[in-house]
């Protein structure tokens, strides 16, 4: 796998963001359909038995994964059931990384609106990527050699990165 972003590690069998040895790698590729969101959530719950994701973060990490998968199906693959999505989960002693791949063109992250702005607050949509950024420690947008778009979400295991806390 070769990634467009040279700052990311490109080797197969190697974590996108970490250099320490992997302790777990799972990759599941399915046709693009929302029914698989629950499947990936269930897989994450099993993975959490092996990866020390803090218990108080599990629901939020699951929420981030669900948002990313829904985003890939609805916006990346534009609900075309013949397209594919793939979810990779990689664990190392330091971090847990989830990457959701779709066949879409990606999007301009600089154009994402802040759903907390007064003009956006009462809009029913537009909170997915915001929540992903809130509930994971690092978010990257990448493209592989096959042209797939990937949303990479990293959860630090060794040390919690300070995030904005709820009031």
């Amino acid at each position: 796998m070769t990634l467009a972003d040279p700052t990311l590690n490109a080797g197969k069998g190697t974590s996108l963001t970490q250099s320490r040895p992997e302790t777990l790698r799972i990759s599941i590729r399915v046709h693009s359909h929302l029914k698989y969101t629950d499947l990936f959530h269930a897989v994450l719950a099993q993975v959490a038995l092996e990866i020390p994701i803090p218990a108080d973060r599990m629901d939020w990490v699951a929420l981030a994964l669900r948002e990313a998968v829904n985003n890939a199906v609805l916006h990346g693959n534009k609900k075309e059931p013949g397209k594919w999505i793939e979810v990779e989960m990689v664990g190392t002693p330091d971090a847990f990384t989830m990457t959701v791949w779709d066949e879409g063109t990606g999007f301009n992250t600089s154009k994402l609106c802040d759903p907390r702005d007064p003009e956006n607050l009462l809009k029913p949509n537009g909170r997915g990527i915001f929540l992903i950024r809130q509930f994971t420690d690092k978010v990257q947008f990448v493209r592989d050699a096959d042209g797939r778009f990937g949303l990479v979400m990293t959860v630090n295991l060794a040390q919690r990165v300070s995030k904005e806390e709820p009031e």
Partner: protein, 112 residues
């Protein structure tokens, strides 16, 4: 998601249970709120005490229900929020939008 609606002290209560996520309850909530508004119900409390998981779609449905109610001259309030739901509303700053109460009784009483 499971739900039931009932009347108490002149207030319509929509009790939700389970998950409010894309494809698993969001449309149901929208339909039930529209049904209540169609019956000229003007005071609505959504009881979220047994909602175990909500995603951005669920949040969006709550917002849509709130704005639809407001546009039709009705008032929608929330009751029994779990800590996770409170956190979600706080992080998205929707806590400032919704009038929410720790108990159903308080929410119903607020309409008096």
């Amino acid at each position: 998601m499971n739900h039931r609606t009932y009347e108490k002290d002149g207030v319509s209560v929509l009790e939700l249970k389970g998950t409010i996520t894309l494809g698993a309850g969001d449309v149901t909530m929208r339909d039930v709120i529209k049904d209540l508004l169609g019956k000229e119900k003007k005071s609505i409390v959504v009881d979220l005490g047994e909602v175990s998981f909500m995603d951005s779609t669920g949040l969006g449905e709550l917002v849509a229900a709130y704005t639809t109610a407001r546009h039709q001259g009705a008032t929608l309030k929330l009751a029994n929020l779990t800590k996770k739901t409170k956190d979600l509303l706080s992080i998205t700053q929707l806590a400032a939008v919704f009038e929410s109460y720790d108990s159903l009784g308080e929410a119903i009483g607020s309409f008096r």
